[in-house]
Amino acid sequence: MLSNHAKLMQFFSVAKEVTGRKKLQKMIYILQKCEVPFEEKYQFHFYGPYSEELTLRVEELCNLGFIEEVKEEKSNYYQYNYAITDDGKGFLNQFRMDMPDFSEQVGLLQGRSSRFLELVSTMLYFDYLPAEQVVDKVHTVKPKQKYSEQEIQEANEFIHKLKH
């Protein structure tokens, strides 16, 4: 039952707390690209890979009381933070899925900004292209972010570290 929900609950159980929906979106996508079997379907959007399915599923988990969403007012926008609840832990105990250990990757992802994760996820989205074309594509689809060469190099190293 609800195997995709259970997989996400395992993520929240490992992550403990996730700050921001944008970060959540990018984290799950990057983990997918690291062969963690989350099944949410992603498409490329204005701010990089985005999954409507993930948005809905997280909303369902909140409404079921398995995760708690806290709306935090920032200077000119809202940020939504997530944490697993006791009911969520109970659900996970009953329906734990067979997943590889991805706690190390989650730790690495949590320490990074959402801007950086947007870059990493965008590079991974185009990973079927030759390396030099990936950089061109990032500049084409994200001209306003003005990612520097240093950031791109850092992202490349980060991807290597995540996958190995």
Binding site: K22, H45, N76, G90, E118
Partner: protein
């Protein structure tokens, strides 16, 4: 005159129940419509299994694709001479609008889930592969096929062009809401599209709505919300979708079972079962072929496959109850065990279906930089997110609505001989008494 600019001697029109007429003057568009890959969309229903609930919902992806093309054509007509609009992108937008759903297969949502496919990847493959569509696009100019593919994949450099085809208020959604409302016969789904088209303004990287047109957009958001719950997530439609998915799972399972042989080799499905579907095999499958196999599978030597196909073809659907996976976790586990004891395989006959299993959504403004919301263009030239200005939209977007249902074959339960198991299952399912939809 080069092919890119070639116009038909006389404008062609398609009579359309939603937009009255779809106008075609470009030779390229006319030629694309005539390709086998585009004509194939006539054989794929827009709403999959919704015709089990709304018998009029037999319209196809062909109808919808023409509709999206027509809306984009009208938007571009209104954009002429406006700042930020580059009319050299006109043909690119029209082609992307026409071809945006080219990769959809029969009952594509179920097929994608069961066989781990992505119709968007097939759209790309059709546009860029060895196809009639690709040859036409390449004839326009070098790289034009790739540009059309990029617009549809939302990775094209010009975000304004992308947002016409894909955004929170795009031609795709405006067509399917109205078309689905028309063919289902429901009274929701209608909004003043002409007014929205008049207040759309091109900006540097998105289409925005002039603030005076806010009420027309509110109407559109309401329609989207109502259609979501009243049509797209209709529980009877979902029941048919559940059975369809289970048929595909069962057929795949049998194919992988060594000691089972299909009476008729499922030729069209083999690559799907094996997880390696090439483009030509993908294009060969349409709803006619799928129905043909379902007819034949009623005769196969497997009771589950027989039963599920018979249910799907004759609309003998599963019943359902509202289900809360948090409060009823233990009930579900007990039901699972009772179904097993009763000889009813719960993997096929006890199914939880959630709102997130749907390929539709309703408007949520979201968090900053989560995804691009609808922006209003205020009189001072600033942009304001729609729900910050509209009380109606704020009320809808703040409302949390998700849903889970538990589907099961009530007729099978009624026939159970073990009265103890039967009574216990009914007690769990119906609790204080049978609800209307489970009767």
């Amino acid at each position: 005159m080069c092919y890119k600019e070639e116009q038909l001697i006389e404008e062609k029109v398609f009579k359309d129940p939603v937009h009255r007429y779809v106008h075609v003057k470009d030779r390229v568009i006319w030629d694309l419509i005539a390709t086998p890959e585009f004509q194939r969309l006539r054989r794929i229903k827009q709403l999959g299994t919704s015709n089990y609930t709304f018998h009029g919902a037999e319209h196809s992806r062909f109808n919808h694709s023409l509709g999206v093309y027509e809306i984009v054509r009208r938007i571009i007509y209104n954009f002429q001479e406006r700042p930020y609009w580059n009319n050299e992108k006109r043909l690119l937008c029209l082609c992307a609008a026409l071809l945006h759903d080219l990769g959809h297969g029969p009952f594509s949502h179920s097929f994608e889930k069961v066989f781990k496919l992505d119709h968007e990847q097939y759209t790309q493959a059709i546009i860029l592969g060895d196809t009639h569509v690709n040859r036409i696009l390449k004839s326009v100019e070098p790289g034009f096929d790739q540009a059309v593919a990029d617009v549809i994949a939302k990775t094209y450099e010009d975000k304004l062009v992308v947002s016409l085809i894909s955004s929170q208020i795009d031609a795709d959604r405006m067509d399917y809401l109205q078309r689905d409302a028309y063919f289902t016969g429901v009274s929701y789904g209608h909004f003043d599209m002409e007014r929205i088209l008049r207040v759309m303004r091109p900006m540097e990287d998105q289409v925005v709505i002039k603030s005076t047109g806010m009420h027309a957009v509110e109407d559109y958001i309401m329609s989207r919300y109502q259609m979501y719950w009243q049509v797209y997530f209709h529980p009877v439609t979902r029941s048919a979708e559940v059975i369809l998915s289970k048929i595909l799972h069962r057929a795949k399972f049998l194919f992988e079972t060594e000691d089972f042989t299909f009476k008729l080799e499922p030729t069209h499905f083999i690559s799907f079962f094996k997880g390696k579907v090439d483009l030509q095999e993908y294009l060969r499958l349409d709803e006619g072929i799928v129905s043909y196999y379902f007819q034949l599978w009623q005769e196969e030597d497997d009771e589950i496959l027989q039963d599920l196909c018979e249910r799907f073809l004759n609309r003998r659907l599963f019943k359902y109850i509202e289900f809360n996976p948090n409060l009823q976790m233990n009930d579900w586990m007990e039901l699972y065990r009772l179904f097993q004891k009763a000889g009813i395989d719960p993997e096929y006959y006890l199914v939880v279906d959630s709102s997130s299993d749907l390929p539709y959504d309703f408007y949520r403004p979201g968090e900053e930089e989560e995804r691009l919301p609808i922006h209003l263009l205020m009189p001072d030239g600033s942009l304001k997110e729609l729900s910050r200005h509209s009380d109606i939209v704020e009320a809808i977007s703040g409302k949390k609505r998700t849903d889970h249902k538990l589907y099961f074959p009530k007729d099978m339960l009624e026939k159970l001989k073990d009265e103890h198991i039967k009574t216990r299952i009914k007690d769990i399912l119906y609790g204080q008494g049978e609800v209307e939809n489970a009767k």
